[in-house]
Subunit: 191 residues, 2 copies
DNA sequence: GGACCCATGTAAATAGTTACATGATTCT
DNA sequence: AGAATCATGTAACTATTTACATGGGTCC
């Protein structure tokens, strides 16, 4: 019984062998955009994956007081990952603190709300700009290349951020229409 | 120290008093689209909110063996909720099993992947259709009406589903181009 | 009579975050 | 000398899910 985090790790090791620390960094950086975990969750999970025969490790030289373990995918792990990929995901509980705030936004002063929304807009615009920079350097990989996984998820990220920005702008407009003293309009145009 | 779930509940009680069961249903249905919880989490949370003075309850008549408690927001609870609404949300860990699968999609047969993607497309198209039906019955409420919270989050849901559908269609196209035997194209056009 | 909705709770398990712990190397 | 990065682990806590438990009313 492999957990979702387990499949996230297997997906990384299917590309190349990594140490726990490298897995940890990847779950922060590229795959962290759709699945995150801290190292305290990763090391035990790697051990579990090893006992169930999905991965194996080899001790390699490295700095630090402890041995560095480089994990790689086994044939069984690859089989498991493959069959998981095409099984339809169970309905996912969506959680958004931003939308939860929007649900209660009618309670507060529109000006104060607009300020918060502008702050969010900036964050999402920055995120989108970062994603767009990443796409520039690569052209579309073939579907059987590992890079296709990165490319497809990156495209999803770009589409998502654009959607959020449009929604944020719509909401900001409504809030400003409601305020007597008009707040500054957002000046960036990264969309 | 109120939890995010706590604010979800306060946001509901700011509209009207509800029993734990009614809160539970709401956290499944309208607000469940951006924050979910099971009743086993809700009843203890209501008790916590009561000890911290955010809500109070009155026992009302009802069926079943136990007393029915109808909870309502206190002035303190409303104050807390208001101030939370305009504080910028902390960076949220995004989790999507669908994107996690996409990250490893290069490992599998494009035809099998396309079948899974078509299944997802159907689910998201149905979700979008449901959202669109909801908007038809209402016109845009004023920003200080509780219905504005519902309307704003509904618009977010519509934008989100449209984005997912576009991405799903793009991915499906790539997968079909890669397959020698062409799989059926999606026939719905709810976008 | 059985299925399903109303209604409220507790217990146990899993998932995830934060904090504790240690220590080498490289950069400023 | 101090901070950051490399590197691996455990402990404690919080959040969330699944399962257990009970029982009335309504619809077929």
């Amino acid at each position: 019984m492999t957990s979702t985090l387990g499949y996230a790790i297997l997906g990384l090791l299917a590309r190349e062998p990594r140490t726990g620390y490298e897995v940890s960094r990847a779950l922060d950086h590229p795959v962290g955009y759709f699945w995150t975990a801290r190292h305290s969750q990763i090391y035990p999970e790697l051990a579990r994956l090893e006992t169930s025969g999905m991965v194996r490790h080899r001790v390699v030289a490295g700095p630090g007081p402890r041995a560095n373990k480089r994990y790689s995918l086994t044939a069984k792990g690859r089989r498991e990952l493959r069959s998981w990929v095409t099984t339809p995901p169970a309905p996912e509980p969506s959680r958004s603190e931003l939308l939860l705030r929007a649900y209660s936004i009618w309670l507060v002063d529109p000006g104060a709300a607009a300020t918060m929304i502008r702050g969010e807009r900036e964050k999402h615009a920055a995120q989108l700009a970062g994603y767009l920079k990443m796409t520039k350097s690569v052209d579309e990989p073939s579907v059987d290349s590992p890079r296709f996984g990165n490319y497809a998820t990156l495209r999803a990220g770009i589409g998502y951020e654009r959607h959020v920005l449009r929604w944020l702008d719509w909401l900001h407009d409504r809030l400003c229409e409601a305020t007597p003293e008009p707040a500054a309009a957002p000046e960036s145009e990264t969309t």
